[in-house]
Amino acid sequence: MDKFKVLVVDDEPGMRMGVLRVLKNYEIFFSEFSETISFELMEASSGEKCLEIIANNPPDILILDHKLPGIQGLDILSQLRAEKKNICAIMITAFSSLEVAITATKNGAFDFLAKPFTPDELKNTIDKAVKHTYLQKKARKLEEEKRQVRFQFLSVLAHELKSPLAAIEGHLQLMECKIAGDSIDAYKSMIERSILRIDGMRKMIYDMLDLTRIESGNRERKIATHNIVALAHDALDAIRIDATKKNLQLNFEAPSELLLPIDADEITIVFNNLLTNAVKYNKMSGTILFKITRHEDYLSIVCQDSGIGMKKEDVAKLFGEFVRIKNEKTRDILGSGLGLSILKKILHLNQAEIKIESAEGEGTTFTITWPIITSLA
């Protein structure tokens, strides 16, 4: 239940009373938003009083007579317009006064009521004005929320990019003052670490671009028939070097071929995300089981690692942007914190679902249920 404030301005008490009486117990129901609007009513007998009320307690809707003893209705309109006030104004005009109507429109009046009007005419006009105002309010609120989300995203991004920058800059400072002597060889680890941190930043920027493209809907989806098993092999090849460094055992279970209509880029991002996490958060000499099974109308994709696992409360946080579970075990693992939010958005596009089972110190299993598209509509 929302209450709209309506201010009725007319120097004739009878007119004000008539309008107030019609609106007093009037309610409007918007089925689209399942919202009922009722009214909080205010009245003013002069233009001066009207401006005073607007300054202290601005109404949503203003029902304004043009002919007033002091400041005229049209002057009030142009003043509101100059001050960029978000008030929906309905002008009460004498029946024949076309000129006033035109000037009022130019000054931003939303609608007119020609004197004399019936209660139904008043209600009709109010209905339109309320609808207009309600949608405007909603749009403003959405815009504000969007602005907040964008601001938060950018500020967290800036913060996340500053850490690697600080690290790289630190290495350079130490090299500049030749802290380890004249030989370049003494700086090998600093150079390697700098390159590693730069790679991390680059990955973060790419992830962020992916996320932005997916979110804005600007990325063109290309559904075509692909061999999903071959795509999975590509993703496995991409992690093989890092897996070998950790001496991980990679097990892949899938049919030899699975030809299905799918967006190859999207499923590849999903595979890459699951597998790189399974490597990054694994223990030395651990295992990864990657399994794709075809069911009648869905694929099941399972990625199970024998890694460090997570606490229950951390699992719940996992899909937030830039969320990285920070603890002594994950401290030295680099990541953008965006991978899983990208994954989630892609799953959403494909109406796929993900389930996470994790036990601290034992490992994590991601299970994706991916509906198979049957027609290339």
Binding site: A166, H171, L174, I179
Partner: protein, 129 residues
């Protein structure tokens, strides 16, 4: 002159290594910790003359918590708080306001893009007090 010992707590491997390399080079003894948990143990077990703390580690306020623990152990140990947190994130701590400084238990605040020479002169100032 007796070598002074500095405790460095930062969860960023690179920053930790850089600060300790630099400080050792300047003649200090350095103890490093990777986070709040490890540092809490160290604070209770080891003596040191100054602490350099990263503000945000496992928790958003890890640095503040450690600061309190250090001042409780010995209020005369100076603390330098390092933070990447800035105004833009809406989380801004300004040590210039005496009240916040008291609450944060830090003697000096430095931004994360550390100038090592600045850090050195701040340490010397704090230790000569």
């Amino acid at each position: 002159m007796i070598e002074k010992t500095i405790l460095v707590v930062d969860d960023d491997y690179d920053i930790r290594e850089q600060v300790s390399l630099f400080l050792r080079h300047k003649g200090f003894t350095v103890i490093t910790c990777e986070g709040e948990v490890e540092a809490t143990k160290t604070i209770g077990a080891v003596n040191f003359d100054l602490a350099i703390l990263d503000l945000m580690m496992e928790n958003k306020d890890s640095g503040v918590i450690l600061g309190h623990k250090i001042k409780k152990k010995n209020p005369r140990i100076p603390i330098i708080m390092i933070s990447a947190v800035t105004k833009e994130t809406g989380l801004h701590f300004d040590a210039a306001i005496e009240d916040e400084q008291r609450w944060m238990k830090a003697d000096v605040f430095l931004p994360k893009d550390i100038r090592f020479e600045d850090l050195h002169s701040k340490i010397n100032q704090l230790l000569s007090k």
